[in-house]
């Protein structure tokens, strides 16, 4: 118990330090935050076009697509802002940067994940939340579960990133491909849930659990299915545990000592 509390304190200290470092250059952060919103503003009209052609996709309408997109972008921003290190794990492996974390008494994963931040994350987080608020106001969705969905969505997305980034222990120079996987993982979370049927649904609930990230929350917002939400939480915890275990399995194959470095 004492160790868990100690790790929790370490985690909070890391998050605080990372956020402080990211917000240190305020003007740079603001400019990048503004620019980071641009791609998302460009993307939204696509759903207007899709729903002009087909106004109802198996029960999904424009408002559901917007809510799903808001949720997925906010989760992307949250993970980029506080746990950018997760995305960079393949590069950390290639450059032997895990060496210094292995010498620390604290868990390697905590240090590797929460030691860096990407300041575009703030813009994405604010944009995502803005879109969610817009949906709540315009389409009368409930506000109450929104923060909770942001947390479980971020856990799913972070776990997904960790799972695929861990492949970097076996695949060298994997960062480019990994970034592509994260991007498409996030993009798929904004696709309408009724598309995912049969084997595709199994994939969306297990290997690439985009359904847990956005589809289940939307189902809850619309139908208030508590049982589905309960199963989803169980799924999120299981997937997070699986990803962490997979990372530690990969760590056994880590070839350290590639580069010499000193960390203060």
């Amino acid at each position: 118990m004492a160790e868990i509390l100690s790790n929790l304190r370490f985690f909070l200290a890391l998050v605080r330090m990372t956020f402080k470092s990211a917000t240190g250059q305020r003007s740079a952060m603001l400019i990048r935050a503004i620019f980071s919103v641009t791609p998302h503003l460009i993307y939204i009209p696509i759903w207007f076009i899709v729903f002009t052609v087909a106004p109802d996709l198996g029960g999904w309408k424009l408002e559901h697509a917007l809510y799903a997109y808001g949720l997925s972008i906010a989760c992307w921003g949250l993970v980029s802002l506080f746990a950018f290190g997760l995305r960079m794990i393949p590069e950390q492996i290639d450059h032997g940067e895990l060496d210094s974390y292995l010498t620390l008494p604290k868990p390697v994963l905590l240090s590797a994940a929460f030691s860096s931040s990407k300041n575009t994350g703030l813009g994405e987080l604010l944009f995502g939340i803005g879109l969610l608020i817009f949906c709540c106001v315009r389409y009368d969705f409930s506000w109450v579960p929104m923060p909770f969905f942001l947390i479980i969505g971020s856990v799913v997305f972070a776990s997904g990133i960790l799972f695929f980034a861990t492949l970097g222990f076996w695949l060298k120079q994997f960062l480019g491909s990994a970034e592509e996987i994260y991007f498409n993982f996030n993009l798929m979370a904004s696709r309408p849930a009724p598309i995912f049927t049969g084997a595709l649904k199994v994939i969306a609930l297990t290997l690439v659990p985009v359904s847990l990230m956005s589809h289940v929350p939307i189902e809850f917002v619309v139908y208030h299915h508590w049982q589905t939400l309960g199963f989803a939480i169980l799924g999120v915890v299981s997937y997070a545990l699986l990803s962490v275990s997979f990372f530690y399995l990969g760590l056994r194959f880590y070839e350290s000592g590639n580069r010499f470095g000193i960390r203060g």
């Binding site: 087909a54 996709l57 198996g58 970034e179 996987i181």
Partner: protein, 262 residues
Amino acid sequence: MIKYYHFARIAFGDHLNNRLRIFTRYLIFLLLDWVMIAMWDLIYKSGYGPVSITRVDMAWHMAFAQMMFFLSPRLFVVIDSDVRSGNIGYFLNRPIPYLWMRFAEGVGALAGNLLIYYVVSIPFIYLMVGGWPTGGTIAITAVLGGLVLASVLHLLFQILAGLSTFWTNDAVFIYHSYQKFCLLFGGIYVPLALYPSFLSGEVLKFLPFASLVGNPVGLLFHPTWSGIAEVLALQIFWLGFVGICLSMFYQMCLRKVEVHGG
């Protein structure tokens, strides 16, 4: 030209050696295809499918539209890394322009991808879709030919995005913006012909984004000789235009290079 050939040849071999990476990327491509085909299946089942386009043709359109982004290597990441790390300073001393060296490497890797994606994807797409497009072999050949030029154009845009690192210090968001423009104006989710009147496909087809995806892939629906000639002419125009802009932009970048240390 021979030196560019060798750069392309080495990149081709190097790219094909990374079998696991190619496999991983291919899986993502298949998954995205699957999702897009499923989306249009649902649209047709819901009764909103366009009468002028069959379900099978639409599914092939979606699969080819996704393929364009996967044919080219992620060249902007390499350039972004060169600029940020300062490695570009070492390349500038060489008797070969950095810009065209990277382009040649990109074309080499693209050739490797063309080999894999064209050979493996056709049977896979057929299995997923469950039939051949109405236009038959001519339509497929026209689209595959158009996608080659589209991928070269995509490489040029990627280099532009990569070189923007000199000012932005991060090519990723520039590339993502460009990618989203392609999704919106390129006709990737919805064929250009079905766009609503306020975003007329007749106007959008003249934009470079349509030359990347919508125009070549749209040949599936009407594989006529005049249509093929029009798509080809537009692609060649945009290749020339973007190529000239890129050369000028590269000259601006050279004035911006600052290398510290050694």
